[in-house]
Amino acid sequence: MSTPADASLARLEGIAASGDFVTAPDELAQYEIDGVAPRAGIRASSADQVVEILRAAFSERLAVIPVGNATQLGVGSPPARYDVALVLSKLSQRLGYDPGDLTLTAGAGMTIGMLSLELQKHGQFLPLDSLAGDFATVGGILATNSSGPLRHAYGTARDFVLGLDYVNGEGARTKSGGRVVKSVAGYDIHKLHIGALGSLGVILSANFKTFPLPATQATFVVRFAEADGALKLRAAVAASDLQPRAFDMVSPEAARFLRHTDAAKADHLDVPDVDWEDTRKYVGEEKAAEYKKKYDEAAALAQESIAQAKSAPLFSEKYWTVLIAAGGNERVVERHCRDLEALAEQAGAASFSEARPEDSPEGCEEWRWIRSFPDCARRTSPAAAILKVTVLPSAFAAVISATKRSAEQNDVPIAAMVRAAGVVSCAVTPRENDDAAITELAAVCEEIIAAARKAGGSAVIELCPPALKRKMNIWGVPRGDIELMRRLKKEFDPAGILAPGRMMGL
């Protein structure tokens, strides 16, 4: 039953190793995006294969979407076309690490968990503590530009990605930037790929600046009866000499679902399969065993923490909970404790406590829950939508009260998690998932987008049911620079085969 379309796919089949080209519907389901499955999935084993695949896709005009461990495929618009899932999880080699220079090159398929393991041995880390968790791959994290609590002190990927190796929409392998901590040679093309959802190129590997782990870490938990107190504390800390590593504020509604995510549903946590045979091939027996151990441990830990959903004790439904991470030498942490307690009291805190000693944005239970915010929201509601609102800190109050108003008027729970660096994550969690609920959800999202705009910022819907994506523009209000983006897209992907439609409809 070969059709002409199948013939073009067959060209790809010859490129991948046997078993790495799949067309069976049950196997393709894992690559589904917003209900759209590709016609084929192909696992690339090398950079050269990616080049070959994209050259073939370019000449056959096949729409290709790069996939890592498929943890964040829900981010972005539904694909306009989707022929091939180009799976990069096998590009999981650490390609270079110079601990003395604090630089690292990682293959796109390497998971953040594996990377952390390697870095920890040298007392270093990468501040990519994204919401997608340890199973997300380097390529996926960069393509979605996801960030976590540590962005407060370390910024986002654009601040510590030094260079990138990628393949464009014609199959040309290209690099930008360098592998040293400072370089201004040529254009910073790597910045364009961060957050581009693979629409400008397929990332093969990235060069990072790594960071030394602080000798001592601590987390401080401050509770306030009202958002106002939490915001007061934020302003006071920003105006102080303190240098916290992370500063997140969790609304009572968010605490509710962080506490009460149904543990029974949590059994379904999908831990992506890793081809250990392959890993052994690349890094050797010993390293592969070590990676597998760490991977299994992380998986067990994730399962366990989900099972303990109801026991995240420091979040309270009655309060706004502020989590602050500090790090440095012992005296620096003590100083943070002392000063934060005093500032918290001045801001009218209901309680102040310290979680120690090993708790950190990487390890502490509460931070892990914060990082699982989108997951918890989706477990709470069959039609959860998560909006990323970016505003100046002075506009936090306006955004919070607008969401509160929306929640009351539409009778739908809205949870907020406010990152002091300037990001408010709003989870709208309808109780139903029928047409009426989706219509209502669209109205609420429009209200939040309008509120963000009024507050001088913007809002995009990061995750939501596909039905909502068909109803509204998830990217918020169209920007004046869209025409430039269109021209860039045309230059990098003239045939429009890279993740078509996924990025702002480009």
Partner: protein
């Protein structure tokens, strides 16, 4: 080739007679910048507003004449020179700070605002603008954006791109576009990120939104004195690996420090082989402990002496020694050529030995004063431009140093930019495909190549670009 009289007349209509220079003797003032290159513009214009810029761009378009932006002209790679003639657009009259938002730690400025002036304007609120090139007393923020400028304190705080959140751009078509914004993470491609450091080849920046950084509670500046260059470089390697990130870590070798000392009297010991200027900042508690750790590491590597600046006056003097170093060098050699290579910090000791060898091979004194903590080298080749063979050998020596940097995995430039100084060296670092990708980015913004032509891309890569023979000059400032 002179600009059409009608274009000059049009420019005068837009800006008034005081806003346009077109006489030869006036134009000669603008044929230099901080590099060893020269190029004379055909008209110099001084816009006062975005509207002025738009009207000039439209006029230039009608006459098919290139435009090159210029701040204070302190750049070291020829970025602000009108390589192919045409209009040089100088931003000295667009020098207003439009907004200071202390609560959100943001400022909105016009491109002609002088770097240090912004920090001074927010000093009362305990804030500053972090990028601090040595020329910060005169260089402009527009120029910093074009070159993605660094400075000593970028070791801990990052370079210009880490502190710019939004831009207003005038495209070569005359369209005005805003990229990025005041809040973080603007939706869509990171257009602000691609424009910063694009050396004025993608758009003309007319407004800049920057992040302001809180001044540290405490600062300690240490001077470590070494009898061997290797001991100083090994100290930097150990410091980096130890995980202490100093706010700055600068090195001056013996030749340079003696030149500086004779001029600035900063207190550098004349008989030493190298000094490190190391600054730690942050909370009092962090500064005290880190300063002690720095001391231990310096001693481990046989530092002869480590002393701390006792007060702000001593600290300022040490920094004056660093920041005025190029002025000091200028007193000693008829000409000098400042390099800007970057290497992995683990390769520092062997790299300085290699530079020394290259100097001996070509028969030049090469001084070293640089951002050691970033691995960002500034070897200074001292030569006499009046001797043609010396000039050629100086350029060859520079090229050998660059090739070495690349051979150990480094970069052609850490903060000065490619400009037209290094455009021919780009193929050493980037493949045909890499350069083609950059061409495509340029095409998306600047399809006809009328903005700052002749920069970044090697000869033959641009749109009918002309290779000009560089003439060395003596002045430079890092």
């Amino acid at each position: 080739m002179a600009l059409a009289r009608t274009l000059i007349a049009e420019l005068v209509r837009i800006l008034g007679p005081a806003g346009v220079l077109a006489r030869r003797e006036e134009l000669m003032m603008y044929e230099y910048d901080g590099s060893i290159e020269t190029a004379r513009p055909e008209a110099v214009v001084f816009p006062r507003s975005t509207e002025d810029v738009v009207r000039i761009v439209q006029a230039a378009n009608r006459h098919d004449v290139p435009i090159t932006g210029r701040g204070a002209g302190t750049g070291l790679s020829g970025g602000a020179l009108a390589r192919q003639g045409g209009i040089l657009m100088v931003f000295s009259r667009m020098n207003r700070i439009l907004e200071l938002d202390v609560e959100n730690q943001r400022a909105v400025v016009q491109p002609g605002v002088v770097n240090l002036d912004l920090s001074r304007a927010v000093a009362h609120a305990g804030l500053h603008f972090a990028p601090d090139p040595s020329s910060q007393k005169s260089c402009t923020i527009g120029g910093n954006v074009a070159e993605n400028a660094g400075g000593p304190h970028t070791l801990a705080y990052g370079v210009t791109t880490n502190h710019v959140l939004g831009l207003e751009l005038v495209l070569p078509s005359g369209e005005v576009v805003r990229v990025g914004g005041k809040p973080v993470d603007s939706p869509g491609f990171d257009l602000c990120g691609i424009v910063v450091g694009s050396e004025g080849t993608l758009g003309i920046v007319t407004e800049i939104t920057v992040r302001l950084t809180r001044n540290p509670e405490a600062v300690k500046t240490l001077l470590a004195v070494f009898d061997r260059v290797d001991d100083a470089t090994e100290t930097v390697v150990s410091l980096t690996a130890s995980g202490i990130t100093p706010a700055a870590c600068e090195m001056l070798d013996g030749w340079t420090l003696r030149a500086v000392e004779a001029y600035v009297h900063a207190g550098f010991p004349l008989d030493s082989a190298a000094v490190l200027l190391i600054e730690v900042d942050g909370l009092r508690e962090a500064v005290e402990t880190n300063a002690e750790l720095v001391l231990v590491i310096c001693r481990k590597h046989h530092a002869r002496e480590v002393r701390a600046a006792r007060d702000e006056r001593e600290r300022a003097l040490l920094w004056k020694g660093r920041k005025d170093a190029f002025g000091a060098v200028g007193r000693l050699s008829p000409s000098y050529y400042v390099q800007d290579g970057v290497i992995p910090r683990t390769r520092l000791p062997e790299t300085l030995r290699r530079i020394d060898e290259i100097g001996k091979q070509y028969g030049f004194e090469i001084g070293n004063i640089f951002h050691a903590g970033d691995g960002n080298l500034h070897p200074i080749i001292l030569f006499d431009q009046r001797d043609r063979s010396q000039y050629d050998r100086a350029v060859s020596a520079a090229s050998d140093i660059m090739k070495w940097c690349l051979s150990v995995g480094g970069s052609l430039t850490g903060e000065h930019g490619i400009g037209f100084e290094k455009s021919e060296l780009m193929p050493l670092m980037f493949s045909e495909a890499d350069l083609e990708a950059m061409q495509r980015v340029r095409r998306a913004f600047n399809p006809r190549g009328i903005l700052n032509p002749g920069k970044i891309f090697p000869f033959g890569k641009g749109c009918g670009e002309v290779r000009m023979r560089p003439e060395p000059v003596t002045s430079a400032a890092s």
